[in-house]
Assembly symmetry: C2
Homo-oligomer: 643 residues x 2
């Protein structure tokens, strides 16, 4: 620490900046200065230090030089043009940040950060601007809760950042004698994803999900082995906000974990929303949740958001970088650099190597890769083309509406919901659907969609452009937001046709299951699956042909439901790469890995993909002696280090 | 514990036996009785209890009923015939045992244990008879040291047995959620054998060897991973006394292990001898040994000897049974039963599925087997027939003697030394060698051979019969024991031809290396390898063609030695199964395993064997979907339990 600090002092020779102290704050090094004016005039100094140290630097001002809230608000209002649409200004006295909620983030920061630098120079406060999209304020409730809660716990957070910073930057005690990967969940199956990466120096978890089927002994990943000790865990890395990747993160905090959770910002927001929603659904359906809101709150305070491409120290011998995975908003491929060039792991998480309406396709270039851990959901099959899938969906909806039936599309709140919304809104605009077609959306979809509007920079060029123009590409006058059981029943009973988007996407609970019960008896209706249905879920059972289901009615009484509505599965909307895309990803990947570990797929998918990769290794540009591993749960692979 | 005790009391309804207390003693349950007479008259009672409880039972007498040493010696002398050749009688007052060293063990115990029972009834002392073969007493020095040391530390040992007994019989806390096997050493290589078997309840090590090459970072097995915590370790199981399987056992005691080491009795004796010898060689050659005699002593006190076929609890969810492995004296195949029928592992250790002069071939029938861990030293090649190998050896010796050269045969002190001695003695008797042929034996061979004479019941029928007749089948008038450096030089310089058997067997140190230096320049001499030469050893380097070796002379100065003596390798004497025998073992094994894990072989041997097994699965009677695993160091396989 001292050594680093000294180097910094040396770099900061322009004495006028007046460094008062230097602290580790999580993965960053915070430099507290007394003369922010000078620094604002020379913003290149911070960049040079960061480059020199190969560390992330954050410049903070000494509290003594910060001006009053009133004066600061005055300065901001004078500098920021009114079109920026500032909604709220709050102050974090611990971190010296002024949190500004505004409609147009860019206008608040100013061209080339000019306003940011001026505010810093004149007031000593760093601006932190959050985008507030033009939606119903209640759709921003979780986002606001996160911001307010973090602000209220700012001291705790600073304390956590300092202690985790010390831990991250501790000296490497052992030379790197091994790198081991242990399958804790989501191997030879889809669900409860969790991977332990272990070196002689540190241990991290990649994802900690639950099984979406919600039943049986294999609900949680295998956190019960001795090899995993929560107190020794250095970091939890979360690739995207679906429950099979995040469902058990708060559980770690219940059992003593107090380290950081790394995720992109949207993943953090969506994660909080989904987990609170999960707790709510479990409580309402009488299940005992594995943790409470308390642990979700702890998780919020311990989450360190990272942008794509930002190289971050997460342990003395590990650096993490996220890249776009193309699966859902904020989804990331995690690149982990271990030791000084000892080994590099790329974990795809769930990824889509193909463009969708919502997102760009997954990133394929990495600084170095020896081992690739790749999802294999569709390792054994191709999917129809996206435009064909859209046509089919529109056609099914049109036919159903013509016979005055209702279309129930179970969707995950995050990802497929927005993708299908874009398709439907587009179809309405292009008049491919009857103009009176109502689209009902239920569950947390609205709120999740609002979070999408908060991060336009992470969406596809087309969607981003429309949002930045002030439009809401997910909205249409025919869209009706459903709230409460009574409204659901009214919709189901009414004679008017319509399309219903409801969560959960695999019929594992939530409004989609209620609609199913209400709509199942009428053969004019149709149930349309547009995403992967995991083993053990009600969705999968129906997809596999089950037509008599025991369900629970309003009063909690079991009831046998005969599914007489039509059942359709339209492939091609998936956020997962299909077989062709998995192989194309390998063919495009730079550099090529030496080891490929396949996970997140049912055994036949994984075995088929392994076989295909081995057979086509040369064709894909992979080394001919490529090692393809297909581990099962609790297997450990020793992939690098000394023998 | 109480429940077991009560059952015992119930069984012991013949009140006259007068149970005074019940204790766990290691894997056994010790019943202390006040009326040994009654028990001696009803020896079936103990057997019935053992059967009922499925536990091993030991009956001890209450100290209050034991007669004086003098009276007891009197009783023994009256009962035991003089032909038994009693040499010494010692008393262990802690355990209530009278230790008798005698030439004929059977005569001391009496027919059907009749004298044992009489002595117990009349004196309250349990006889423990040790065979003393008719050899030079100094060859029994280690054996006597072990007996004397154990006697002197009897209280410590009882304390250890009680505490380890409590630990072994602790209740099963977790249901068996997994069985995992981790490769710590001796996978994709020969040397430093060590395997971790881990359940949610317990952890054991199978073998803890060192790398015979004695160089480089891969000298020790990988005990440095978090998964292995010496304080949590329940047991160490040692399959046979070669350094690549036992070399690091005392090291565990240096770093805090205080649990039991399970081995057959000869393995214990040979292990102590070899380890003390190793420390001696290391000290003399200026190397820093990884532990001292103190830890070897601790190991002695913590070793619990087991007979072949004896089913023994070693952890709350594990039972161990040893079977003959046919590799060296006392070598064992370990059968581990996990949970109540959850899983069964057979670990072959080093094994020979073929008869040798010394030993019967390896055992093939087991109560149950799901997973087989099999050595693969010769997985890629067959060995010549044994009789052809013997003829070739005799012919090489004859030719060399005819040209007045010397034959240097480096041998491991345990196993090959005795095997070759039997061949040479037989050849001398049958006059296949010139009658004047001297056989020099150097290193610890004499003492090791004496230990063989102590356990005739474990040797082949032919050798056993001769020993029980009072003969020493390893001895001949032409055999000369070498002691000290001067004598070695004299032999090397003398013009008389001869055969030299010297340790170490892979030229990794010891007298064989000294002879090599002395004999190398004379082309009339011959160096004959009769056993496996592991990678990295001097033996292997010479075998691979190296002929200029830097060695250290008497004064410790480096010296370039040109090997001009002939170099020969005679295959067929190996204590390992060759390819044919490995496959024959699988074909004969009952029942058949579902998983085969290959270890103890260089990569090409292991891969070739895996391929052969998969291809011939049906032919070998194995399931067609047999899973053959070829793990590398630090890989972990999850072989049983829930997903």
């Amino acid at each position: 620490m001292k050594k680093i600090a000294l180097t910094i002092m040396e770099q900061l020779t322009p004495k006028y900046i007046q460094v008062s102290r230097i602290e580790f704050e999580g993965p960053e090094i915070a430099i507290y200065v007394r003369n922010p004016k000078a620094l604002a005039e020379h913003p290149e100094v911070a960049k040079e230090i960061a480059k020199k140290l190969k560390k992330r630097i954050v410049i903070r001002t000494d509290p003594s030089v910060r001006r009053s809230e009133k004066e600061t608000i005055e300065v901001i209002k004078n500098l920021v043009p009114p079109e920026a649409g500032i909604k709220e200004i709050k102050f974090d006295h611990v971190l010296g940040e002024v949190i500004i909620k505004a409609e147009k983030v860019g206008l608040v920061y100013g061209k080339g950060q000019s306003i940011y630098n001026k505010v810093l120079a004149e007031t000593g406060w760093r601006m932190n601007v959050v985008r507030i999209p033009p939606v119903d304020p209640k759709d921003l409730s979780t986002l606001n809760k996160i911001i307010d809660y973090m602000l209220s716990q700012s001291s705790y957070r600073l304390e956590f950042l300092r202690s985790s910073g010390e831990r991250i930057h501790r000296g490497v005690i052992f030379e790197n004698r091994y790198v081991r990967i242990t399958a804790l969940g989501g191997f030879m199956e889809v669900g409860r994803s969790a991977i332990l990466i272990e070196t002689s120096e540190s241990k991290i978890l990649l994802d900690v999900g639950i099984n979406p089927s919600g039943i049986g002994y294999n609900l949680y990943p295998r956190l019960d082995i001795d090899q995993l000790n929560l107190e020794e865990l250095d970091a939890v890395v979360v690739t995207h906000a679906h429950l099979d990747h995040i469902g058990l993160v708060p559980y770690l905090f219940k059992y003593g974990y107090r380290g950081p959770v790394y995720a992109t910002k949207p993943t953090r927001d969506l994660m909080v929303l989904l987990l609170l929603d999960l707790l709510d659904i479990m409580q309402r359906s009488g299940q005992k949740p594995p943790y409470t809101q308390q642990e979700v709150k702890k998780m919020i305070l311990h989450t360190i958001p990272l942008d794509y491409g930002e190289v971050t120290d997460i342990a003395p011998d590990m650096k993490l970088t996220f890249y776009n995975a193309g699966h859902i908003l904020g989804s990331a491929i995690a690149h982990i650099h271990i030791g000084e060039g000892l080994h590099n792991i790329v974990y795809t998480g769930d990824f889509k190597f193909g463009r969708t309406r919502l997102l760009d396709k997954a990133h394929t270039e990495f600084p170095r890769v020896e081992t690739l851990i790749m999802e294999s959901t569709y390792g054994d099959r191709d999917q129809p083309r996206r435009d064909e899938a859209e046509l089919e969906l529109i056609s099914v909806i049109s036919k159903t509406i013509a016979r005055r039936g209702k279309v129930l599309i179970p969707v995950m709140a995050v990802g497929r919901a927005q993708e299908i919304l874009l398709v439907l809104v587009d179809a309405l605009r292009k008049k491919l659907l009857p103009p009176e077609t109502k689209i009902y959306i239920d569950g947390s979809i609205k709120e999740v969609t609002a979070i999408h509007l908060t991060y336009p920079e992470l969406l596809s060029a087309q969607v981003r452009a429309r949002i930045l123009r002030g439009e809401n590409p997910f909205d249409h006058e025919n869209i009706v937001r459903v709230e409460g059981r009574q409204m659901r029943e009214d919709i189901a009973k009414s004679d008017e046709p319509g399309v219903i988007l409801a969560t959960a996407g695999m019929l594992t609970g939530g409004p989609s299951v209620e609609y199913l019960r209400l709509l199942a008896p009428d053969p004019r209706n149709v149930l349309v699956f547009v995403s992967y249905q995991a083993k053990g879920t009600l969705g999968r059972r129906i997809l596999d042909g089950e037509r008599e289901i025991t369900m629970v009615d309003e009063e909690g009484k079991p009831q046998l439901v005969r599914i007489q509505m039509e059942v359709k599965s339209i492939d091609g909307f998936s956020g997962h790469s299909d077989r062709r895309q998995l192989l194309a990803f390998l063919a495009n990947m730079k550099p090529k890995p030496k080891n490929i570990i396949l996970n997140h797929g049912e055994p036949q998918s994984i075995h088929a993909l392994a076989e295909t990769i081995r057979r086509r290794a040369r064709h894909l540009g992979l080394p001919e002696d490529i090692r393809v591993y297909t581990p099962t749960i609790l297997d450990t692979l020793h992939i690098a280090g000394v023998a």
